[in-house]
Symmetry: C2
Subunit: 135 residues, 2 copies
DNA sequence: GCTTGACCCTGCAATGATTACAGGGTTTAG
DNA sequence: CTAAACCCTGTAATCATTGCAGGGTCAAGC
């Protein structure tokens, strides 16, 4: 049985975040000691690891919550999990492509200024230039 | 002279966003007609274009505000603009590299499930797997 | 016994950028 | 004259998290 601070250290989520997940019903309310302290078991830590891992992959809490719901029915079909992951991968690839375009544009804009005047600055100029308006 | 709706159409920022920028002092308070309507000139539209362009590059409003302040002093040194842009480019490149790693992991996780049981699902399994804990 | 510091609790406000109301007033075209 | 399309203000929502105020509790050392 672990207090919230230990769980925070073990799971990598802050105490505030853990209480927040409880409020959002991503985590079952843990047992409480007589003094009101939360006490957790290992499954809560695993669950927090799952959430953290999902977050680090850029999944939102809603999506993670869906995956957790799936994980609670081990005998059901995993096609949904597959669909969710594939969908997320697609969005991720789009996002990367879009950031690559932006980096290209920034690179083309970041030139040697060597102490020039703002009036001649390509960076400022480029930002005022409507030709490159994005998505 | 343009009303806020026209400015919204011309600049690509919504009316709410324009009023929001005014509140954040990114935009000078425009002239008001007797009925209280905001009236803008072309410089406001240019400024909004600058902000939108910056946002589309992933700059935050604080950064954009700094660049706008620079742009207002055309005779000063543009080294600051250069530094801001380079710094942002670096962060962007880091972000892209990190997203690439995530996409790789997701790709390795998204395998054919073909109607398997959740209990055997690689996706769920991988999310529970602490080995891949990220940044 | 008593202080100190490390914990824990609740509930609410902040972040950043935007969007979405609610609850009004004004203008314009039919 | 009325309906639609505009405008106004102010406030609250979004998302995921963090921070704070204002408490209570616990273990160790004096």
């Amino acid at each position: 049985m672990f207090k919230i601070g230990e769980v925070a250290r073990l799971s990598g989520c802050s105490r505030e975040t853990i209480r927040h997940y409880e409020k959002l019903k991503l985590l079952n309310p843990p047992r409480r000691a007589a003094n009101g302290y939360r006490y957790y078991d290992e499954t809560a830590i695993k669950r927090l690891g799952f959430i953290r891992h999902g977050r680090s992959l850029g999944l939102d809490l809603q999506t993670i919550s869906e995956l957790l719901a799936l994980a609670e029915h081990p005998d059901s079909d995993c096609a949904s999990a597959d669909r969710i992951a594939r969908h997320h991968l697609e969005r991720l690839e789009e996002r990367i492509a879009s950031l690559e375009r932006l980096a290209d544009e920034l690179r083309s804009v970041v030139v040697q200024c060597g102490g020039g005047r703002v009036a001649d600055c390509r960076i400022i100029e480029a930002l005022f230039d409507a030709r490159y308006e994005a998505e």
